[in-house]
């Protein structure tokens, strides 16, 4: 069965009233960007559906990419037929061949925008249904909740048929909610939080703090690789690496042990906010989950959050660890996250950080260091790179090795 196009159904954006046009255009351009290396494929975002016309391209890799793009509810590979009902019967039966298992139910749904076509919607439903039923007597019809829905779309330029509906990533097209800055540590939680934020349409930029020589090149590479995984949903993500060594050393030297973590976090948040203001970000995202570790009590959040009025959004705040891990596994970040490299949250971690830090004390201890000067130097040495799907940071020698192997 040679598919001619993939028909994409919009999810929640169908309910978004007059913004709908922006959403569709954004999804269209996101999709084009995600498929940019398939020159034959054309994307037509229409008001009710988006058509990804294959022009002979293998549909499998295309569908693999579409599955990751936010804003797509479901999609179906479609065959374009000439406008003869016999062709519809034959194609429906051939398509069903690949899918039917004993005891399954099905229905036929027809849409007819070409009112000139000789049969009406009900007649097409009925006749295609009985042709399929004759070929597969084990099937039963269920119009409410079928296992397989055969979609017949009679348009001016042909009849389009599909019988497979594949679930997309859902959510909103990335970019429709504006820009956010994600504090990406490299652990399990922050990539999941980034994913969830991106799913709500946020154009996310990753901020990563690194502290050489206390943290290794590998830890940095790991965070970049996590960003690469996330970039598969959007085509490209900006990765902002902020050096944190001097700040950490200074805090370690000047601040009492119980407040090391709190003051460090305050500085991280200050730097993230500064970066957001510079780059047009409207909110800070992080991977905090309430109660997981010392920095993630409400007292601690208050003592850290004190440095800014910019919204700090915590997408996984109320999730259990097991729930977060489940998402991490689904989106392919878990195996990377558990690679055992020290990140800058774990170095200099005091044996017993204050789980209920006092806001006033946190402010006082912060005054012991030159916040402004430290921030200025860190921001001046910040590097920004664009990370794209398929890039390999953990194993930069992959191609050299491939030659050997």
């Amino acid at each position: 069965m040679e598919y001619t196009e993939i028909m994409v159904r919009y999810g929640e954006l169908s309910t978004k009233g007059k913004n709908i046009k922006d959403f569709i255009n954004r999804l269209g351009s996101n999709t084009m960007r995600a498929l940019h290396d398939f020159p034959e494929v054309h994307v037509y975002p229409k008001r009710d559906r988006m058509h990804v016309v294959l022009n002979g391209t293998d549909p499998e890799p295309i569908m693999k990419r579409l599955k990751l793009i936010f804003g797509i509810q479901t999609f179906s590979p479609v065959v374009q037929l000439r406008k003869e009902i016999d062709a519809v019967y034959a194609a429906a039966i051939e398509m069903m061949q690949e899918q039917v298992k004993p005891g399954m139910t099905f229905k036929v749904s027809t849409k007819r925008s070409d009112k000139e076509f000789s049969m009406d919607t009900n007649a097409i439903n009925r006749e295609v249904g009985s042709a399929v039923y004759e070929a597969f007597p084990d099937l039963t019809v269920d119009v409410k909740n079928p296992d397989i829905e055969i979609l017949v779309d009679v348009r001016q330029n042909g009849i389009f048929i599909s019988c497979e509906t594949i679930k997309g990533a859902g959510g909103f097209p990335v970019g429709t909610a504006g820009k956010g800055m994600m504090m990406l540590s490299g652990g399990i939680d922050s990539p999941v939080a980034a994913y969830l934020g991106m799913k709500r349409g946020v154009d996310m930029e990753m901020i990563h703090f690194f502290s050489p020589p206390y943290t290794t090149e590998q830890a940095l590479a790991k965070s970049k690789q996590l960003t690469e995984v996330l970039s598969q949903s959007v085509g490209a993500i900006k990765f902002i690496q902020i050096p944190f060594t001097e700040i950490q050393e200074t805090i370690k030297e000047k601040v009492p042990e119980g407040y090391l973590m709190t003051v460090q976090r305050r500085l991280m948040l200050r730097l993230s906010v500064a970066m957001a203001e510079k780059r047009g970000g409207m909110a800070i995202f992080n991977g905090e989950a309430l109660g997981q570790v010392a920095s993630q009590t409400m007292e601690s959040m208050m003592a850290i959050n004190d440095v800014t009025t910019m919204p700090v959004i915590r997408p996984v705040v109320s999730m259990d660890k097991t729930e977060i891990i489940k998402v991490a596994e689904e989106i392919g970040t878990f195996d990377l996250s558990i690679m055992p490299f020290e990140d800058c949250c774990t170095i200099f971690a005091p044996p017993s950080p204050k789980t209920r830090p006092n806001l006033e004390k946190a402010r006082q201890f912060e005054e012991l260091i030159d916040v402004e000067g430290l921030m200025e130097r860190a921001l001046a040495a910040t590097k920004i790179v664009t990370i794209k799907p398929g890039e390999n940071y953990l194993n930069p020698d992959e191609d050299i090795f491939a030659e050997l192997l």
Partner: protein, 383 residues
Amino acid sequence: MIYFDNSATTQADASVLETYTKVSQSIWGNPSSLHNFGEKADKLLSQSRQQIADILGVKKHEIFFTSGGTEGDNWVIKGTAIAKRDFGKHLITTQIEHPAVINTMQQLEQLGYEVTYLPVDKSGRVSADDVAAAIRPDTILVSVMAVNNEVGSIQPLDEIGAVLADYPKIHFHVDAVQAVGKGLWDLVLNPRVDFATFSGHKFHAPRGTGFIYMKAGKKIAPLMSGGGQESNLRSGTENVPAIAAMAKALRIVTTNEQSKNQQEQAVRKIIIEHIKDQPNITIFSGMDEHFAPHILTFAIAGVRGETIVHAFEEQDIYISTTSACSSKKEQVSGTLMAMHTPEKLATSAVRVSLDATNTIAEAQAFNRAFDSIYAGFGKIMTK
């Protein structure tokens, strides 16, 4: 030289050796070292593992590197015996396994385990019904080879897999040492197979390297305890140059696998067609789909196998008695005995084992040598 003893070992491929050398010279760090240089070796190790897993169609963490086929067989069998000893002490195998399996089983018998050695039919195949009949509540392992090394018979692993589908707790191990590059992947790694043993030097990789496939979720005890390499299941500093070389050799042997098998089959056919009608010849390897394309075992009645081997060697043609491992001992082929071959005839058996690099011209040269050798034995052959 005409080398027709590829089931004993194969010549390491030149490009494979080049990989071995390059890695030895430039990526020789210890993969367990923390520094960059060690890390680089670790990444190469990881990429080698990934490549092997991709070729096999399995997951990366299901591949474990070993020193070869003997270690793989020992590990799976003893590792199962140790890990599952509380569940039972009965193991099932066949009478035609490689000594790496048979002798391991015998060692376990001395330790109080019970082993059922299943018979084979006269073409050298075990029956799935016999496997079914041998299963007991305390059975913990079924170990059956994919391709017999002495006559080339292919075992019905799919049918055995179907039998074992009803016994999900029994470990199903396949000794696949002779099956690599023979177009048998679907059979060797059928969905019920839990473990498979592979040996590098049988497919043009360096000696001393191999790997096992261990299905995710299955557990065996380690035999090598130590520094925790291979997920703490096979300690010992990884032989990265040889492993990278093996990954390359596997890629080469599985490229155009089908046409390579056709080449082996064609060479084999020329020899079979030539010798099969000679009055004193008995051929043990069939031409049908139940035999691997690269093994041809036959006997010249009345002439000892080793005499035949040396006669061919005189003409610079290298073949073997039925298996390299037993050929230096005064021992009759276990497989042929299990096939109920008369002992006298079994002592006359020799094995021609081919590789895709062998040519039609070599087969024709073999046939000419055969004619003179066969004529030379005229007086001593059993009429």
